[in-house]
Symmetry: C2
């Protein structure tokens, strides 16, 4: 199987208690595609500027990621700067230069149209919906969003949510989207907006998947994957996108998407997120092996496993 | 086996988004002893005033809790008022009338001195240490504390920590005690202060137990028990004490305290905490059955269990 991700490729400046880096390759689609590449074939649709060179494209090619969907536009690539203080859960954005990303209108190469799994990373909801409508062969669509779109474009987002199978967001976003402070009730309200399943990411505490009644087989109970207590979090940037890459990548590698597969995917999501934060930028995601990934999957599994 | 808890008995006024109650039986030792009573024999040392009547004592007696250690003093029982807004994780204290609790000097009845398990609920650390020193037959001591003592009496607390086996605190307290924002590193610093194991409670996300190298058998990895996403949290008061009651009560019911038993205890802690918050005060803890407790234990287990 293969998966298509549509989203941002960026250059980031990041400051954290562990240090500072400048101009490193980042962006949601970058983190996602690297994480997913350990599980399945990945295709990417994004836009970059004239400062995106062969050395950057090689990062994708080394992982077998199909970059024919990366559009080159005149100008500079999207740039983001963020800093983390002791509370590593929250980035303080120091600058956002949208550059070529401002006019991003995702173009799907004809060769991509048969892709079976689709991930709509965090972009304007109408663009997400347009992409979804063009992909006639898609079996399962995952989607991310953020506070900005929940507040600014609620109607457009509501339309997009009707078209997606799995929404992946964090606690704050879920509560904001539902207008509800109890997480469990918020989850049910979000599911009523369209998705078959909702993954709520809890940062260092793992993630929970909530199901629509009857979706993906019997049973209505939520399922949780814990996360490993990590000694050193160097750079939390991209943790959520790496989670999504592990989650969706694992789904795309399986013959069938049922509840057991979704549960394992939730663990793989946590695994990839936990690797991502160990180094700045995508450094750790670039150097993994499938053996390391499966070893950490076992550690996560044992973390809550009773004999 | 039996367990002794030393701590507060109180009357509480609580306001939450689900309603308001006045003058209900509360206090750390009350929540703890009710939760633990489903697993083992419980003895309590506390102080109450003249307003503590037979109807209150009966709550303990119905659960077989030995109240010979409840001292009656002239004056009123400790009273606490708190309110919760949408963020149910944090109580805003509206009043604290220490009353007879202000001069509490725990007296251990001679008949209690052979108790094998001891829980030092949240009281002044020197009082905790004095109790521990009097209990010569104790096999395992659990201990709670809070920000107030961490900030005001760090030296006294350091002495107490050398005398306890398992410390049970929440994320904020662990980070404050260690002077460290990374939870995993904070845990190791706290373990270096004395306890063999440290339970860090994450509220709705469950709890993690960290072990000293070599303590309670082989292996150094932490273990986590998840918590159930709860639809309605009526009153979070006493959740932590109920957690401790389930955790310590289960330990006291087992022949041996090893890592597997500690892991199961962590799940039982989460189970009792989750029941406590479903109703105001101790209402839910008063009406449980062991069958309901074990059914929820299974739900918690399945919450993160992969086939």
């Amino acid at each position: 199987m293969s998966i298509l991700v549509v989203g941002s490729v960026a250059f980031d400046d990041v400051t954290s208690p562990s240090g500072r880096v400048k101009n490193i390759l980042g962006g949601a689609a970058t983190y996602f595609s690297l994480a997913a590449s350990y599980f399945t074939n990945v295709r990417i649709v994004a836009v970059v500027g004239e400062d995106f060179g062969a050395e950057h494209e090689n990062v994708f090619h080394k992982h077998g990621i199909d970059t024919r969907g990366i559009e080159r536009a005149q100008g500079k690539t999207f740039r983001w700067g963020g800093s983390y203080t002791d509370n590593l859960n929250e980035a303080k954005t120091t600058f956002t230069d949208l550059n070529v990303f401002e006019a991003f209108h995702p173009q799907i190469p004809r060769e991509y149209e048969d892709t079976e799994f689709l991930f709509l990373a965090n972009i304007q909801p109408t663009l997400q919906a347009n992409v979804r409508r063009k992909m006639h062969g898609v079996r399962l669509t995952g989607c991310d969003t953020m506070n900005y779109w929940i507040n600014r474009t609620p109607k457009e987002l509501a339309e997009t949510l009707k078209l997606v199978d799995v929404l992946l967001i964090n606690d704050t976003e879920a509560k904001m989207l539902a207008g509800e402070t109890n997480l469990s009730r918020a989850a049910h309200k979000v599911l009523a907006m369209g998705p078959q399943a909702l993954v709520i990411k809890h940062g260092e505490y793992g993630a929970t998947i909530f199901f629509r009644e009857g979706a993906f087989g019997a049973g209505h109970r939520p399922f949780r994957a814990p996360a490993l207590p990590i000694e050193e979090v160097k750079d939390p940037t991209g943790a959520g996108d790496s989670f999504a890459g592990g989650f969706m990548g694992y789904l795309a590698s399986q013959k069938e998407v049922n509840r057991d597969v979704l549960k394992r995917a939730l663990f793989y999501g946590g695994v990839m997120g936990s690797f991502a934060v160990e180094r700045f930028g995508t450094e750790r995601l670039q150097s993994l092996t499938r053996e390391e990934i499966d070893a950490r999957f076992q550690v996560f599994r044992e973390l809550t496993h009773l004999e």
